[in-house]
């Protein structure tokens, strides 16, 4: 895969040479301003629903492998 990735990275290089410092960046295609709504509880998943696809769960919680190595 390393060879393929090098070719792809090379092909997108021209992008960094096109736009000058005066061009603003666009992160979102349609400009929108933020809106607020009343702080009320909407539709939320039950714990059972949220855990329905989990590979491992215990007492209504996701069961996660050890975070830290023993060493």
């Amino acid at each position: 895969m390393a060879g393929e990735l090098a070719v792809i990275v090379d092909s997108v290089k021209s992008v960094s040479e096109v736009a000058g410092a005066d061009v603003p960046a666009t992160s979102h295609p349609i400009p929108l301003s933020n809106v607020f709504r009343e702080d009320v509880v909407g539709h939320v998943l039950t714990a059972e629903q949220a855990l329905s696809g989990a590979p491992d769960a215990d007492e209504n919680r996701f069961k996660v492998p050890a975070i830290l190595d023993e060493e």
Partner: protein
Amino acid sequence: MTQEIIRSTAAQLAEKLAAKELSAVEVTQAHLDRIAEVDGEVNAFLHVNTQEALAVAAEVDAARAQGEELHALAGVPIAVKDLIVTVGQPTTAASKILEGWHSPYDATVVKKLRAAKMPILGKTNLDEFAMGSSTEHSAYGPTRNPWDLDRIPGGSGGGSAAAVAAFEAPLALGTDTGGSIRQPASVTGSVGVKPTYGGVSRYGAIAMASSLDQIGPVSRTVLDSALLHEVIGGHDPYDSTSLQESWTGLAAAAASGDVKGLRIGIIKELHGEGYQTGVENRFNESLELLKAAGAEVVEVSCPNFQYALGAYYLIMPSEASSNLAKFDGVRFGLRALPEDGPMTIERVMGATRAAGFGDEVKRRIILGTYALSAGYYDAYYGSAQKVRTLIQRDFDAAFAQADVLISPTAPTTAFKLGEKLNDPLAMYLNDVATIPANMAGVPGISIPGGLADEDGLPVGIQFLAPARQDVRLYRAAGALEKLLEEKWGGPLLAQAPVLGGAK
């Protein structure tokens, strides 16, 4: 009877259902029978939803018998791309990492289909996480093009396009990040629409690149796409990028078929060199028909489109690498354990992602994390966002001269399965004409433009309109469809080879 049902458009089925000439159960069963007959060859479906579809159809028939008022498309069946989550059916995104996963909630578009009482036939195949242009990157085997089973149906939405082209469904939902609705439509002789960004809720579409992704209609006619667009469009508080617009008048525009005085801009950079001769010929033929019908055809130049593909292959992987971080082997989907050594979360995540993701997904995650990494961010992701601004400016200038723009949808007709699988760059080039619309958020449609002289395979014609002006797409495409079908003496798909031994 079955043949007559499956070859009807959604609009025709809706009429016959309303007139009680057909029952919803008959219509749904005919499509399920067709799937059973041909999908072994086509492989458009990853899951067939027989029981639920027939139950919904029976509900529609009962409600109609009671004289209840129903949605115009009630009882008209539909297929859903397996990137869109559904309660009661598995959602896999065509990935091993989500094999057998069931969503605990419905996507907003699926809720809308349920509200309209449209039976859902099943979930359609795609490139894994919608990453690809051929549906060969599905973990569950490629979909085949109904025009030639040795060829690709396009991608990522090859399953949805092949399903409608093979008469397995009159309608389907797709998602389009760089052309995944329009390019499959182009190579299968069907119709596909990418609405204005934010015009259709993305809630429940498994995200690839959030600033580019858009759900849209897949069908065999422009009118059918318009009817479906009116069902799924509209504001959704669950999608923070959803627009306030309501989408009406699309079907009326599709049916009007009038382009007199419409200014159509040919994008200089999106045809000619690099485009197959047969594609170019059909494109020019469409232009002549539109001119003869009274459209005013002008040439526009979008010089920065040449950088769109490069910028897309920085922005899309960047967003994808971030969106796919959630597949961690903890909350849903696959968990694979490392073969030896300590069972830490980091090593479990690594083993899970190594086992669960296919090569193209891994390639894009690596590219994305690279483009976003410290020291490279400005040169890659930052520059690509600036190119996005330049592309939007090109569109603004072009739309000052023209009401809609036109180009071939894809540079070539369908290629052979396996032909470009080992050359990612050649694969990426398929989307060169569709990507600019996603970069700018503008709507686009692909409709059949005829068959290429050299291989007899479908060619797609793309129209693009300014943001929020989806109605113009339907007006222009509806008109061209009518002109072409008059010339052909019927729809293009009537010329497709017969599948499954049907008479």
